[in-house]
Symmetry: D2
Subunit: 428 residues, 4 copies
């Protein structure tokens, strides 16, 4: 019962006194909640212990708003690496602010937090429904992005100077921490500026959020790389197709791609250690038997095997050694030492995946995410992100969402299904 003390209550800027202009809509009650645990045994145990089971606030339009739409200016910023659906989320926020609430001024800050910081001189774009009407058909982000934090004081200065009352930040773990720092600086200054996040993680590794946008498109697009690896592997005697997929801390993309493509023989993820000798031995036996093999590796897999670099990127993430190149070199050397011919083809499709437009599922998902972000912001919720849990859109406090990474449960059904699909040994 480790999660029994979780409290998903979010912060609000103040009382909501403005009547929502959304007519004919179904408003969500402030006290609507969705259970964190849905297995009854767990819930019953918690209740038997006299505790209230943890539960999320439900997202959605409120009948009473904190902000007066006629006076509010908003801003949107996208940070970090590309992810399918960024433009969809920008578009959905702009459409909801404009059409549902009648907001007139929405700034699109350029190139991530740089666009809010002093000294870069990036002029924001002015966003309106016409400007964003078709942007979802392109990958990437029309606002541009950048990695790394900026001084919160500088950024709040910008918000004050431009009279922005509501800021939407679309980004990953680092971005959300930056957004939280902005919210704290706003609090220190006693300002009434809302900060609402939309969590962006192509790896699907943000805690307390069941699925993040772009993840499914990424899994789908991996099919092309895996099919290519399979064709290359089959096209040569002792052919190996090696594909590196995204997944720094969590192997969800590699795992689901394995289930979605039946051609994978080894799926390597950050959550499961393996020994190089064990992998090489298993590979050798498979090639003897089947003459080809397909390996998929999440980028964070096998990091313990690589020499630590200690370098960090602009976002402060530790720079990972490249497991793809490492495996390519080691497998090649091993088979050479065994005097066995080998044809290994290494495919790294990451940039081609993350820059894709959202697929139809993610398009609909981003539309609803963006709407719910706008609804949350207008109702005064702050220092929170819009999440998704058991089929419902939710609110999650940023500090909780960034408290740790979500990982594959290596004793759960997903990982068992991966092992069953590949036929790889549970331990190597």
């Amino acid at each position: 019962m480790t999660d029994v003390n979780l409290d998903f209550t979010t912060t609000r800027l103040g009382e909501c006194r403005v009547r929502s202009p959304m007519s004919g809509s179904e408003f969500i009650d402030d006290d609507a909640r969705v259970l964190y645990h849905c297995d009854f045994k767990h819930v019953a145990e918690i209740m038997a212990a006299g505790r209230k089971p943890p539960q999320f606030e439900c997202a959605g339009p409120r009948s009473k708003l904190y902000f007066d739409p006629s006076k509010l200016k908003c801003g949107i910023v996208t940070c970090g690496g590309l992810c399918p659906g960024l433009n969809n989320v920008i578009r959905a926020i702009v459409l909801s602010l404009s059409h549902h609430y009648g907001i007139r001024t929405i700034f699109g800050f350029r190139y991530g937090f740089e666009g809010l910081a002093a000294g870069y001189g990036h002029e924001p774009l002015e966003l309106d429904p016409e400007r964003v009407s078709d942007i979802h058909q392109e990958g990437g982000t029309i606002l541009g992005s950048s990695r790394g934090p900026q001084d919160p004081a500088d950024m709040v200065d910008t918000l004050e100077r431009m009279n922005v009352g509501l800021l939407f930040t679309i980004g990953g773990d680092g971005t959300l921490k930056g957004a939280s720092a902005i919210a704290e600086e706003i609090g220190r200054r006693g300002l009434k500026i809302g900060v609402v996040g939309v969590p962006k993680t192509i790896d699907n590794d943000i805690s307390y959020v069941q699925q993040s946008f772009g993840f499914q498109t990424a899994v789908s697009e991996s099919r092309r790389a895996i099919s290519s690896a399979h064709a290359e592997a089959q096209g040569a005697r002792n052919g190996i197709g090696l594909v590196k997929l995204m997944g720094r801390e969590s192997g969800f993309i590699a795992g689901y791609a394995t289930l979605a493509n039946s051609e994978v023989n080894y799926c390597l993820v950050p959550e499961v250690r393996f020994s190089l000798a064990g992998l090489l031995d298993s590979l050798k036996r498979r090639l003897e038997r089947r003459r080809h093999a397909v390996i998929v590796a999440g980028e964070g897999a096998g990091q313990d095997l690589l020499t630590a670099t200690n370098e960090k990127d602009a976002s402060g993430n530790v720079k990972f050694g490249d497991i793809g190149l490492f495996l390519k070199d080691r497998i090649t050397a091993f088979f050479r030492s065994e005097k066995l011919d080998l044809s290994l083809k290494y495919i790294d499709p990451s940039y081609m995946i993350r820059s894709m437009p959202a697929d139809p599922h993610d398009s609909a998902f981003c539309l609803l995410l963006g709407h719910n972000a706008a609804h949350a912001g207008m109702a005064g919720f702050t220092n929170m992100v819009v999440g998704y849990w058991k089929g419902e859109f939710t609110h999650v406090p940023i500090p909780l969402a960034t408290s740790h990474r979500k990982k594959i449960d290596t004793h759960g059904r997903l990982w068992s299904a991966v092992l069953e699909s590949t036929g790889q040994p549970r331990e190597m």
Copy 2:
């Protein structure tokens, strides 16, 4: 609290005494449950009333089996119209029975229930992992299909004669009722034959099942038709693009396709009545303003406007009037009577959608559905289907699954989002 009395307990053939050969896997406890309601207020109310909240059995492999794999013969049958993923489900069941349990004999009955009935002379295919290894890359079903029931006595005769102990039926509402009739006949004869269903409904309208396979592929594939309708509408003065999508009783495909494609101006679904005059009036005003419009209609929409036919198809479904042709004719006539030029293009992509191969998401989903069907069958569950609820695979008794159709909640967020996306009037 209408659902408080729901009981999702399924039937089992008998006690499980055979140790599962699945090694290293994580077995599911027989008493694992997932809550039907996940909003806490609801659950708390039920418990306050001294009741147990309704909950589903969790699917998954059991440590003890009912059947002895070394002696069991299985059969698979696909019925009704095509749906993306049929071959994936067949493949997953075969792979699980073979690889997880070591079953040697699996019959693929041809052309639906005809393949089990007397008098057609269809020889079953013998299925094994090699035969099914690549079938998921093609749409359709390698077994063939047919509509309509056959005599349960005939079919149980076939099962007895061929010594089949476990039958998997993949099909929709009618098929599941047929499967239930088979299970009852088996019961009357005191036989120990399991009947496990995998619910197939491209419309996603089976009760107590959150998402059915093929649905997401269908929504994705509708994009192409809607984009075409949009290009045709924009390419002409007073251009209208009209798309008929699947959805006899429920408008989920039309609704989600509308959210996934931002070009729809009118979304018509079976759940929401509209007046023809209201639609025509709104259309006329839109064309004056924007010169083009895109309409998406689920096939069951507006049936009250059509003359009843009373015909039934081979599956016993009432034959619907064709809302697409009806709207095409009425809209054309109306604009002619108004002396307004019109260019209406009508697109019916249904056969092109339902015959597609499963997309990567549905591929992974079908793999797990098929595995769980095999697990359920081996553990002696019968007269039930494998469902999906709040992210978990579940068991649902067939009589409950076929008790009524799932429909769009017209007061819920999905329909609100559709209205917000199209800008169509809530009432026409």
Copy 3:
């Protein structure tokens, strides 16, 4: 030697005295020619008879222009049905006029010839490189289109009033005849206005033009419909998948689609008569043997079997009877009379094909077509279209291009290959 007298010499508005601003480019000589016949026997025979073999003028930029770019205004119009690549051609003409020649004013006339006619009040769009930069990613035409001619006098009045010196018409047979009528009216008035066509025929049936834009995209997109028909046919006992493709006078789309998709068993085209009884008999025998069949019919196939309607559409084309519905009805009736079950699925993907964006091949092709149209116009060529012959872009006088329709040679290799691929009888 029927073609020996062909003369492909085009008309020019006058002498070219303006130096082209295209620097560093390779100009094409005015006397460059490409042979109409490339088989040597033919050429040698003609020369032996003391004749000059027919040959096309080569398209491409000229070093001397007729028009002074600093003073020229241009117009573009798209007419008739949609075709993949329309926006690409518009874009290529605008980019070439702007970037190669420095033209400042380019009108996009709306809704076909209506946009040039009196009384409709359509305001033209102003086109420039920014406006057209991304339009090729969408199907359809940003200018809109319409069918049918307008009064040439009215249209020339518009050109005069707006001071347009060069008009580009993108359209099919009817449009080119309309363009020719405009050119004649211009001649009668002694004006110096150029009229340059880009032939649009998804059917690829314009004479003296080897391949027209959009044709290849159309063939590619037909794959989806044919695969669906195949899945439907295989999914039922005695399943027939019937696909109607474009092709009023010529079966090139149906023929090439048959070669590109190995699942077609009967390919019916306008050029080859067949008897209904012969088809039904062959079908019956095939179903007995194989239990399924796929039929592809060009829309002009079997018109002699249908009752003549004598109706004409707005473009003046005879309205064809619907061979798809006809075959559907007759095949169904025949098998009913033979007391044989049948499951026939009819797919008409025409609107979904013609509204697609151009594929990469057609994108590059349209780019070069549009450039060459701009080059031709600037060099004073008029009453001509840009064609393509033996790998070279050419000029073709409109009267020749519209003199008759190009058809499949039923004694040539294409049709033989179709018969070899389907296995259908040469005569039915």
Copy 4:
């Protein structure tokens, strides 16, 4: 008039006395020819000089065959790197040999020339229509492939031992030279074994062959990589997207991909030298102006800038330095030295492109190529390949086809159009 002495006459094994079993087909006359030059000036000049203009033999079925189909055994081998369409060509040869000629025994030699050589022990596959019916839907080659030559004496021993009378080799420049060596060894032994090639070059660089199979699919598939590079470049301040495409000696893929995708700003090909300083200077100015750039480089571009390696691969090709990594390093270093931030993303999609299934155009093209290879072989043509010229299938002697590589004419329209499309300087 450098090409005036070309002689495309091919070798034949002997007189053709067997009547072709192809009934109802249109046979091609042995003296049918297609002109090498189609510009009339050129042809007229040659004829005026009393010479016969160079011309290709036309491919196609002959009424008289060299081989007696009832006694002939055939073999097929695929060599070198993957290319879209390999399986289509295998399939087309098998279908034509079986259905048109009734050949019963067709061996598919495994893993390239290894499958014909001594000492590897690869058992050939037996190919028939059922085995190959669906293989064209997968990329790669079902036969497997390998690089590098084998001893011709060994390989002819194998052909003799297995009684193979007709060998089809599908491969590139090295393979064709190997095939020619086999034909010579056959000649030395006085055997009557035919060797017919189908030229495989994804780079489209085989001489006297206008288009090779897989080329168009490769150009199409490059769109995805270029769009991704564009999204990445636009998503960052000073973003550069760098794509390496195939093209060792010839830049056709890079050039056509540039025309097909309007987002390329620099297209670098082997045929056009550039200075690194010139490129960097132009890039810097572009980033100042537009903040992003997309570069496409054929793999053989800029090899003079790289340190020569002198290494060779198994096919005997000089190992090229990696222009992609070189440019990535140098551009990054340059901007660092200029104290300018830069975000460069490097994409190498080569393996993902060459392993794709053929697109519909290439599918039809491969079908006809394979048919014509079978026709040529049956009619006793040997030491030749099936080519394509001015819309006709042709025969080309292997020594001519491998005499030199086809390259982009840097003074022709293709390269001019590339420069016009990118806006890059003609000289850097």
